[in-house]
């Protein structure tokens, strides 16, 4: 490693050594920062779908991680067994995730519209258990490979390296964020969604079909989940059936960091979480990776409960 080479400099030239040492350390900080930023984009993608459902329905979908997992596994099946190209696989992932998302909406949310806030949490945990078990029955509990051409490729930018798959995730993540923003802010459907989020009784009196809006929200959120699953599969070149739970948890952390229901917040929160996790591994060691992320979350919740980009409300 570079450290070892620097340490074997002649002792007389201490100033020079320190200079190089600082430079090398700086180099690693920046490279870690880049990796964290890139990896954080997958967290952002996970969180955008999450935050959409919260934004429209004021409910948390704890099965969203499993929708993402379905996206990954549909992709794996299409690539490995049906030998499809990446674009068709991507569309397949979206469709698979949308189907599962609609099922979750139909059976876990629609009957519970007027229930207290704990009920949908439990019912989606039930859905999450079912989806995970069914997929574990089919694919086993081992890590399955997601073959893709980007596994070992990287791009050199100056002194720093960027993995191609992370770059794809970053670009597609930004594209999806803009598309979602346009959908919600500029279309008629988006206006109906916002009206429903504001007050669904009033919205239904204005002639908005609430069931259809909730369905559309789930279609869009699950499509984003499917895309996230596909990109997660590509960026790690693998998938496990247990990844749904991890994805749910990371998604929760991110949407709270960014502000519940805020889509730019989810994007920013994801990148922030990625950077914090990678830098804490580099500075503190891998054992403290989760602690750093949760400490950040805890402190932020106590100091600024609305999240980084959340709207201010009285009751948080």
């Amino acid at each position: 490693m570079i450290f070892a080479r620097i340490c074997s400099f002649p002792a007389a030239d201490l100033g020079q050594v320190n200079k190089h040492f600082r430079k090398a350390k700086m180099y690693f900080y920046i490279q870690t920062l880049l990796n964290g930023l890139m990896y954080g984009c997958t967290y952002s993608l996970i969180a955008i779908g999450f935050t959409m459902i919260f934004g429209t329905m004021n409910l948390i979908n704890l099965a969203h991680g499993d929708v993402i997992m379905v996206g990954t596994f549909v992709g794996i099946v299409l690539v490995t067994y049906l030998k499809m190209n990446l674009l068709t696989t991507f569309i397949g992932s979206l469709i698979g995730a949308i189907v599962i998302g609609l099922l979750v909406e139909r059976f876990c949310f629609r009957p519970l519209r007027t229930a207290h806030e704990l009920a949908p949490l439990i019912s989606t945990v039930g859905a999450s258990i079912i989806i995970e078990e069914v997929f574990t029955k089919i694919f086993g509990s081992y890590t399955v490979e997601f073959p893709n051409p980007f596994t070992f490729s990287g791009i050199k930018m100056g002194d720093y390296y960027i993995r191609t798959n992370y770059l794809i995730v970053l670009i597609l993540g930004l594209v999806f964020m803009v598309l979602t923003y346009l959908l919600i802010d500029k279309t008629k459907l988006g206006r109906a969604m916002r009206a429903t989020a504001e007050n669904f009784h009033a919205a239904s009196l204005m002639g908005i079909n609430i069931n259809r809006i909730y369905q559309m929200t789930f279609v869009v959120a699950s499509a984003l989940g499917g895309a996230a699953g596909f990109l997660l599969g590509i960026s790690t070149s693998s998938g496990t059936t247990q990844m749904g739970f991890t994805a749910t948890l990371k998604g929760l952390v991110v949407i709270v960091l960014g502000g519940m229901g805020s889509i730019p917040g989810a994007m920013l929160g994801g990148i922030l979480l990625g950077i914090v996790e990678f830098e804490s591994v580099f500075i503190l060691g891998a054992r403290y990776r989760d602690a750093a992320a949760y400490l950040l979350l805890f402190v932020l919740l106590v100091l600024k409960p609305a999240g980084l980009l959340g709207e201010k409300t009285e009751e948080r």
Partner: protein, 305 residues
């Protein structure tokens, strides 16, 4: 006999966890940190008996006390939050606790057997490996049956406590806060104080439960106390019923026995478990046991309210 004793022991641990969630929930606050308090109780009491030489019951109480203090320390900053935000803050706190014990290493080596042929073993919390050889019961001649009695005794004490609490001034205060902060403050109640009391009691109940758990299992690992344990405890309460503590007790017992009854379904039982969770929430959101059912039961048993 051993089968039933084990199952009843496990249901007791689950009852303890469910009640610790219930007492916080009875002030309208959802805490996902109970696994963290359980973890503190388990580790501290085990360190008390094995490393610091404290007798069993004081050590378990020490664990409970420390959990309770931690709950207060956590409660003061996070109780400004509500609903899902509070849930996530407590979840974050619980994970911080778990990572702390994940990295904690203290204690000393012990000879694993008298002949010295087996390699030395580490006594004390050993990071991710956890705390092994919590052999206090074995060393001091406490039989499994006696220890079983201790666990049952604790559960009975808790049931009596909750029964009295429901009828007490404090219990009415709890349910007033649950109805709404505005109502409760209108009645002249100190809301923050009531919530903190509920948090500290929940921490104490879970901490003592953790101490009993670690001395029963003799081996604990930090991974056992992650958020899925907290979720499980919340599921017990939600399935059993959120309106009365009998609901939590019933939910904990039912969901401990359910996987055993579902054994006929072999590998598909987790799928049925999930289906039951969804059906329960769709058709009976208040949980299996609610106030109306209790009233009917009391009438049936010929008691007056």
């Amino acid at each position: 006999m051993g089968y039933w004793q084990t199952l009843i022991t496990y249901s007791s641990f689950n009852i303890i966890l469910a009640l610790s969630v219930y007492i916080v929930l009875s002030t309208g606050q959802l805490s996902v940190a109970q696994a963290g308090f359980y973890c503190i109780g388990a580790y501290v009491s085990a360190m008390g008996t094995m490393l610091w030489g404290i007798p069993l019951i004081p050590a378990i109480l020490l664990g409970g006390l420390l959990s309770s203090l931690t709950a207060i320390a956590m409660g003061i900053p996070v109780l400004r939050l509500k609903g899902i935000y509070l849930a996530i803050a407590t979840l974050a706190f619980s994970e911080i606790v778990r990572v702390f014990f994940h990295n904690l290493k203290c204690g000393h080596f012990i000879k694993a057997d008298i002949t010295g042929k087996v390699a030395d073993q580490w006594l004390g919390p050993d990071g991710a490996v956890g705390f092994s050889f919590i052999t206090y019961n074995l060393d001091h001649g406490i039989t499994p049956l006696e220890y079983f009695g201790l666990i049952i005794l604790y559960v009975i004490i808790l049931l009596v406590f909750f029964y009295l609490l429901e009828k007490s001034r404090m219990g009415y205060g709890f349910s007033a806060v649950r109805q709404g902060d505005a109502v409760a403050s209108f009645l002249g109640l100190n809301i923050t104080r009531i919530k903190i009391i509920a948090f500290s009691l929940g921490g104490f109940i879970a901490g003592v439960g953790g101490g009993l758990y670690s001395h029963y299992m003799t081996v604990i690992r930090p991974e056992q106390f992650d958020f899925s344990l907290s979720f499980l405890a919340i599921i017990f309460v939600a399935i059993g019923g959120t309106e009365t503590f009998w609901g939590s007790v019933f939910g904990a017992v039912l969901l401990t026995f359910l996987p055993e009854w579902l054994r006929v379904l072999k590998d598909y039982r987790m799928i049925f478990y999930g289906l039951i969770l969804i059906f329960m929430m769709v058709y009976r959101q208040q949980g299996l046991i609610d106030r109306d059912l209790l009233r009917v039961l009391r009438k049936y048993l010929g008691k007056r309210r």
